[in-house]
Assembly symmetry: C2
Homo-oligomer: 223 residues x 2
């Protein structure tokens, strides 16, 4: 049965999983879940019934709905082992997880839509805090990842060696996000990240996963 992938082109957590799906050549049914500041699809009761965690992406396989992008990456790697998204040694595996988790826990978790909404709607902060807020967490996180990549001989063309891993699946969407005009960070501050990112964009599977290459990108409600 073809997996159903509930995602949105501009969602960076969706983008992580799309990279893995494309790398592993997994056919899937694309189900757009429109993320908006107000009246977002994932706010609706019918979506909560689909996913009790109330977030995207969701991968439906064998009648089961998987949530949390990193859990889905791990699942895909077990179920479609070729090409692998992890190095085969335990220490290398821990290294790529740690980079992926740094993006997930130290950057994306703090800068996503629901956190930005909370700052404005609940803490009543002015809209102009949002750009510095995003720039801060991305910059601190990228500085840490840059040190980790630059300090290690394990870094190759990609974050770990010469094939993409879950570290790249997570880093690429976060860098893409940081290059939106509204955030506008200068990637030259983190030269190893910049080099890895450019190599990733040249990989056909990663390019195919870009937000601009998704079917819903040009829909009238797209943003």
């Amino acid at each position: 049965m073809t997996p159903r992938f509930h995602n949105w082109h501009s969602s960076s957590t969706s983008f992580r999983v799309r990279i893995a799906l494309k790398l592993k050549r997994v056919e899937y049914e694309n189900v757009p879940v429109n993320l908006r500041w107000q009246d977002s699809d994932h706010d609706r009761p019918e979506f909560h019934a689909l996913n009790p965690q109330a977030n995207i992406p969701v991968l439906e396989v064998s009648g089961v709905r998987l949530q949390q992008s990193l859990a889905i990456l791990d699942y895909l790697d077990r179920t479609y082992p070729d090409p692998p998204l992890f190095p085969s040694d335990a220490l290398g595996r821990a290294r790529v997880w740690s980079i992926a988790l740094h993006v997930a826990c130290e950057i994306q978790a703090l800068t996503n839509l629901r956190t930005q909404r909370h700052l404005i709607n609940e803490l009543k902060l002015a809209q102009d805090v949002l750009v510095p807020w995003q720039q801060h967490w991305i910059s601190v996180g990228f500085a840490a990842i840059e040190r980790q990549l630059a300090d290690s001989s394990a870094t190759g063309i990609y974050c770990h060696g010469d094939t993409p891993t879950v570290a790249d699946c997570c880093l690429v969407p976060q860098v893409y996000n940081s290059q939106r005009p509204v955030v506008g960070l200068d990637l030259a501050r983190w030269p190893t990240i910049q080099r890895v990112y450019r190599a990733c964009l040249e990989h056909p599977a990663i390019a195919a996963a870009l937000p601009t290459n998704q079917p819903e990108f040009e829909s009238p409600s797209g943003h």
Copy 2:
């Protein structure tokens, strides 16, 4: 060689890994890294030299320093497979990862020390925002996890079946944190989480990992 574990009794990410170390009966050298609002050990240059990500916990094994608690949990499970921290099937594995990641990305990432510091020191918010901020993210996250646990026949004595998994390694420290007097959430709002948490505390390995049972707990600089 005995692993060196850089951690702090009251750090919830440290607590996750301590549970796994105790469950798997891994002997380790305890290296306290004092977390404080000001002049925290992990802010120091010598700690950044040890861990480019500048956070705890860190597990030093075979001369390599592993960071990010979930990456360390995955490493420990590969290296010390008995007892396993994951169910053996891919769907079950994805389920326990998704619960662990919900705690890590949707609750802890938003409520940890550095995020609280940023709200006060950079956004110049009043100290009295910190308790509602923590209560909000914990409550929203627990509501999602409660739905996920209550809706599934896979939930057993613990989050998944009748042995502890990475889901419990992450949930227990977050619940413990939510029960500190300063946060003071009523756990009865999430009855399945409450039931699982109580079962976990009765497990000798999990009890041994509690903050109050760590050697540095009563040190003069403890808090």
